[in-house]
Symmetry: C2
């Protein structure tokens, strides 16, 4: 099989294009993927030249780009933006996945406009990997939709299960539903209805969802489920609350260790362990969020992504493409009324 | 002014009645409050006798109690439970506040059944203090209502502001709205409408809400607002996600420090600082959640509360009563159509 080609939005992100180009080059040098850079050639060429990669990486021109503070409307306002053209490359079959560190709202809206939904998927969902052990936990939706229908959450269960299978090799992933109590009757109206549907869904479907019931916010890092399905509002709040709390707690630990000469010496002695821990909690290690349910996968890296984060996001995009997550989603969703769109 | 009297549900909580009675005795010995214990005399009397407090603390008999796995229906099924009778004591003016470590759902439902709403309050909200510095951040609602109306969130802004003023001495607290983006248009339908109402509300009312806009999950521990108003589903998910992440991160730090002989020595040298930090993150230090908007305040301690947690919850109940949080809520809400219920 040929190496997957990742269309990289070189202009999206706080540190674009420098960090993005550097990350794409680093990922390609590690091997296993090809990259197409999309953006302003006048800015990208010198960056490639400085790395001795001019001519070694395909470059597709896009003179427009979406600013980090632009939202969903940018998908209409900027039809020739770097993210729009990256999506177009994928739609035309010239690349297998998209990677961007731009504005999440703009990327989601642009991808929805440019890429087809998979049959049986009403709306794409945003999946992130939480740093549980031994395997990560997939949280979906982390904020692609604020007011989903209950049926959409059942689809997200399938998208998240396919992600867990392909990215982490988890056979028959356990699926939990994010709510505010363990019992089926707990939650808001939408989530209670989604619980009913998920409990029924496990009886049928292309590949049945292995639904194990509600999980609470405190269970997200406890490894109680391999996939946690959330409505996007609560999912986004939970994800950001976890990131904020991990950063806050780590800062408090560092301050505590700096609190006395004895504790500073202690921190020095433990510095290797503390550094490993920092890396593990660093969102850059995980590559970013995956927008699933479209004809091709779109990886959204953190807006503040550095070279390391951009490289990890490129690898995640390539891994999901190589593992054929899109085909796995088709299989899980099973035959659908619009089945004529399916490829054999 | 006489000392506030706290009606303590001696039978609620994983470690009831032992830990609850011990905590109530400890809080009373520290001074500044009186306690009435409500529960089974046959179980409570020996615990008081062992502490030399038999006869020194008022005891009100309640032979029934609510199990930790019972929910809201217990409010109807168990009219003579210890939590029901504790609420009744407060309603009759024999105590100023209620403290229970029982099932949150059962306590909220029982309190709503037994205690009047304050004028202008449609539903009580659950407020918790997050460990920010220099002053804590009040999160309301942490899960009393799963499907609130937007108007309810405006009331919660007033309840939370009164809590921040009385408990933490914050003049003119800044109020943020929990959403999934900083801009007013971000969020689900309910939260977007609440944003409009809060932005308008700051122009009028008994005491205006000082609304400073949306905050995100990652801002909850950043001290961007003194009060964060949330719809109860996302508020509960966020609170539990933060608790879970703080525990997870702390466990990872401990494991990292135990990872080698050098790092173990380091941890030993830093043990005082690490112990202080653990106490700061311990929910028991904060006393519990406050159900606000009723004629009297109900404090809900953590179900796993030990003696220390129960004592802190009793003190929080007494502090809010002594600071007259209920009167402050009346003032903030201002004259209301049902104003004949207001006391002068």
């Amino acid at each position: 099989m040929s190496e997957p080609v990742v269309a990289v939005d070189a202009m999206g992100g706080d540190h674009a294009p420098e960090a993005i180009v550097a990350g794409a080059v680093a990922a390609m040098r590690q091997g296993g993927l090809q990259v197409v850079l999309v953006g302003r050639p006048g800015q990208i060429r010198p960056l490639l030249a400085a790395r001795g990669m001019l001519g070694a990486i395909r470059l597709v021109a896009a003179e427009d780009s979406v600013a980090m503070d632009e939202g969903a409307l940018a998908s209409w306002r900027r039809p020739r933006s770097s993210i729009a053209i990256a999506c177009q490359l994928v739609h035309l079959g010239q690349a297998s996945a998209v990677m961007s560190a731009g504005s999440t709202g703009a990327i989601v809206a642009t991808a929805r406009l440019r890429l087809r939904n998979l049959p049986g998927v009403g709306r794409p969902g945003l999946a992130v990997a939480l740093p549980t052990r031994p395997t990560p936990t997939v949280l979906i939706d982390a904020g692609a939709i604020a007011d989903p229908r209950p049926e959409t959450l059942v689809q997200f269960a399938q998208l998240g299960s396919a992600y867990a299978e392909v990215a982490f090799g988890i056979a028959s992933p356990r699926v939990g539903l994010l709510s505010i109590g363990a019992e089926p009757g707990k939650g808001n109206k939408m989530v209670r209805r989604a619980h009913e549907l998920l409990a029924a869904e496990s009886q049928h479907g292309g590949v049945p969802v292995r639904f194990t019931g509600n999980v609470e916010g405190g269970d997200l890092l406890a490894g109680k489920a391999d996939v946690v399905v959330a409505e996007g509002f609560a999912g986004n709040v939970a994800l950001k609350a976890m990131e904020g709390t991990a950063a806050f707690t780590a800062a408090q630990f560092r301050a505590a260790l700096a609190g006395s000469p004895r504790s500073r010496l202690g921190a020095l002695l433990a510095r290797r362990q503390l550094r490993e821990l920092r890396d593990r909690f660093d969102p850059e290690t995980y590559g970013g969020a995956a927008l699933l349910g479209l004809e091709r996968t779109v990886i959204i890296a953190h807006g503040a992504a550095t070279e390391r984060g951009a490289a990890a996001a490129c690898r995640l995009a390539a891994d999901l493409a190589a593992g054929n997550v899109v085909e796995r989603i088709r299989e899980r969703l099973g035959p659908h009324r619009t089945g004529f769109l399916r490829r054999s």
